[in-house]
Amino acid sequence: MIVGGLGLLAAACGLILYAISDTLVFFYTPSEAIAKSVAPGTRFRLGGLVEKGSLVRGQGTHITFTVTDTDKQMPVSYTGVLPDLFREGQGVVAEGKLNAAGVFVADTVLAKHDEKYMPKEVADALKKKGVWQEGEAPKGSVQ
């Protein structure tokens, strides 16, 4: 019985390790993604600010915009509905893959923040670059 129990626990551990290595997704800013030259087809999360004036609505619900960390930029293409808090000039995290043309094709766009609160990864990355301080919201961009 003890063997059975241990076997079950071992199976659970194996499952957890396999699942985590198989499904984890890295977070990069545009600069990091370019520096690491992430291969097309690799899933990752792209975070930064939505560049002002870059949002273009195309056919139907297709949207393109540019994510910037004020140093490097990356074009993003997305089909779907944007979250309520998505705004130009504000933080965003998108999950998807690069295509052969170097465009980030997102299947999920997160903007889980309000004026007080930025996505943590974005805030950290921008603080590293010195373009954003804790507690300071990019207020100029709020409509």
Partner: protein, 659 residues
């Protein structure tokens, strides 16, 4: 003046908590009856004092006293009264005050209802409760004081995050906190038992009602949170494996394991060491949950507090309580007497498997939630572990558990006849198989595994009913005798049947929505129609709307089945004052077969609206099942045998005969 009274009451509460922590321990050590008795008075006084502090803060919110910094930052005079009230715990400081208020309620309840507890045990339980109170009161007074004043007082406040202005979310935190803090009672009992070196059937009976109560609150809290996410966030999903959701789900999984293992302690005097460990883990995970949500370490809508000092303080509390408890456990647990041998195929054996699977599932959720944080702390790499990980680990661990659930209660204690149990369950198995095959034959889309998921839910429902039928011998005795038989059954056994049945209902809801949801995301212009799941949804147009503290664009939609108009759905884009934040209000119509769910998005450049429409088959089952589980818990709790005042150690010193 009133906020100062609140602040002062809180300081007095800290002094009382210190007394409640130290003196009863000394009294129990020295055998001083009067000192031990005073623990109950301290617990009562703590409740009164924290109640005063909480009332003072509530008063400041309801009267919009913006000279209190906390009110200024989180409230607004134009906010509806319900949300001014709920605003008290819609922020970090207030929610911590609510946390200690609930802690003091539980402490006072143990003092008041525990009149039959042995004096030393009661004194020690209350002392451990007091120590938790000391830690959290210090935390509030030193890092998160809600009574700080502003001078000069501002005229108007900032307001509450609009997505939190919702009836379900107003009561979601109190429910979850009752669950989290309720686990502190099981924890205190475990600590006291370790100090005394004694765990027996009577101990298990005293702990069970508290664990059950906490579990019920957690169940409702999680269900409410999931329901809120479903209708408020506008994505049509019911569970996102967000760290904040996981924070409440981990204690629930461990509490569920604890509920089952404490039955073994009570009936068979076995699994004692493991049960004590589960009590410690359940409360530890509740503390971790509080830490995750409250310290701002997560990227999440719930993480209001962005203050590393607080994080370090909570981390200190975690280290002291979890580390201290585990150290005491390591030192004292080996001295607990083990008893009650059993064969692998037995009720005990089944409950061990239940515990192993639930604990593994909790571990999987724990690793998925905390691994990204740990990795970032170690080497700065930022990763995310999302739904695919959780589906891959949680699912395979739950399926064998769900298959075993109906068999467990039919197995007898000590040594069971597996073949006999299989014979009794064949009707339920055939029904489940027939349903699976029928669904498989009729489904034209969705994964081939989904029908078996439905079958699993049916198996749970009919398997649980089989157990009830066996107990009442419903098919073997004349109907006239049935009602006597039914009345003779303990309520806790109905409670168990209900809870397992509710689980089946939830499984069916989750499988249906996941496998067979219809989705349409299009740009619609007034007059345009979308056909979905046999319904025609026509966009009538937009009209402006106003609420107490927002303005909105309301999209109106006609829903027709064939030529018959069923309903008009309204979905709004609300813009809140004073923050200019926007939220989406979804329109939902519930049919017998599921929810039609509609949310408007952005304006398209050509004048249309992006519109998301979902048909979520059997979606209400998900939360309905949760409500059934809660009712099952309530029914068990009302059982005379578990009534807090009922058990006495003398009578229950021997293990109860198996029923």
């Amino acid at each position: 003046m009133i906020p100062e009274i609140g602040h002062f009451a809180l300081i007095l509460a800290l002094a009382t908590a210190l007394y409640q922590f130290v003196m009863p321990l000394l009294g129990a050590w020295k055998g001083d009856v009067a000192v031990m008795r005073s623990a109950s008075w301290a617990a009562g006084a703590q409740f009164v004092l924290i109640g005063m502090a909480f009332s003072a803060l509530t008063w400041a919110y309801v009267t919009s006293d913006f000279s209190v910094a906390n009110v200024y930052e989180n409230s607004h005079s134009a906010k509806p009264l319900l949300y001014q009230f709920a605003g008290v715990w819609g922020n970090h400081e207030g929610s911590m005050l609510l946390w200690v208020l609930i802690l003091s309620v539980f402490g006072a309840a143990v003092a008041f209802f525990g009149s039959n507890l042995p004096l030393t045990l009661k004194a020690r339980v209350l002392a451990v409760q007091g120590s938790i109170g000391v830690a959290f009161l210090l935390f509030i007074l030193l890092t998160s004081n809600p009574f700080l004043r502003l001078n000069p007082a501002p005229i108007e406040g900032h307001g509450l995050n609009p997505i939190l202005q919702d009836p379900a979310l107003a009561f979601h935190p109190p429910m979850l906190y009752c669950g989290y803090v309720g686990m502190s009672v099981a924890f205190s009992f475990a600590m006291a038992a370790l100090i005394e070196g004694k765990v027996d059937a009577a101990w298990a009976r005293w702990v069970r009602p508290w664990t059950l109560g906490a579990w019920m609150f957690l169940t409702v809290g999680i269900a409410m949170g999931s329901w809120w996410a479903y209708y408020e966030l506008g994505w049509g999903g019911f569970w996102f494996w967000d760290p904040v959701e996981n924070a409440s789900f981990m204690p629930w999984l461990v509490a569920t394991a604890l509920l089952h293992s404490s039955i073994v302690v009570e009936r068979r005097n076995a699994l004692k060491v493991w049960t004590i460990l589960l009590s410690i883990l359940a409360f530890s995970l509740s503390l971790v949950g509080t830490f995750l949500v409250r310290s701002g370490v997560l990227t999440s809508v719930h993480a209001f507090a962005v203050d590393p000092q607080r994080g370090i303080f909570i981390l200190g509390i975690l280290t002291v309580f979890i580390g201290g408890a585990l150290a005491l456990y390591a030192w004292r647990a080996p001295s607990l007497q083990q008893g009650g041998l059993f064969a692998p195929v037995s009720r005990e054996g089944a409950l061990v498997v239940n515990n192993l699977l639930l604990a593994s599932a909790a571990a999987a959720v724990f690793i998925g939630t905390l691994y990204p944080l740990a990795l970032e702390a170690l080497n700065g790499a930022k990763i995310s572990v999302g739904a695919p990980y959780f589906n891959m680990t949680f699912g395979p661990l739950m399926v064998p558990l769900l298959i075993l659930v109906p068999a467990g209660p039919l197995l007898s204690w000590k040594r069971a006849d597996a073949w006999g149990v299989a014979q009794r369950l064949w009707v339920a198995a055939v029904i489940a198989l027939v349903v699976s095959v029928t669904v498989l034959a009729f489904q034209h889309r969705g994964p081939w595994l989904a029908p078996f998921g439905i079958g699993l839910g049916i198996w749970l429902i009919f398997g649980s009913l089989t157990e009830l039928a066996e107990r009442t011998m419903i098919f073997r005795i004349p109907l006239a005798r049935l009602s006597t038989r039914l009345r003779g059954l303990p309520r806790s056994s109905f409670g168990m049947t209900l809870a397992h049945l509710g689980l089946g209902v939830t499984v069916i809801g989750i499988v249906s929505v996941t496998a067979w949801r219809y989705e349409s995301i299009t740009v619609m212009k007034p007059g345009g129609t979308v056909n979905i799941a046999g319904m025609a949804v026509t966009f009538l147009g937009e009209a402006p709307a106003t609420g107490p503290n927002y303005t909105a664009d309301a999209g109106h939609f006609d829903v027709k089945v064939g030529d018959r108009k069923v309903t008009t759905l309204i979905s709004e884009k609300r813009t809140f004052e004073p923050s200019h934040q926007t939220t989406t209000e979804v329109g939902i119509h519930t049919f017998a077969t599921g929810d039609l769910y509609l949310a408007i998005g952005d304006k398209a450049p050509d004048g249309g609206r992006t519109v998301r429409i979902y048909f979520n088959p059997l979606a209400p089952f998900i939360w309905f099942g949760g409500v059934i589980m809660f009712l099952g818990g309530a029914l068990s709790l009302s059982d005379r045998r578990y009534r807090v005042g009922a058990p006495r150690r003398a009578r229950n010193a021997l293990p109860q005969a198996a029923e």
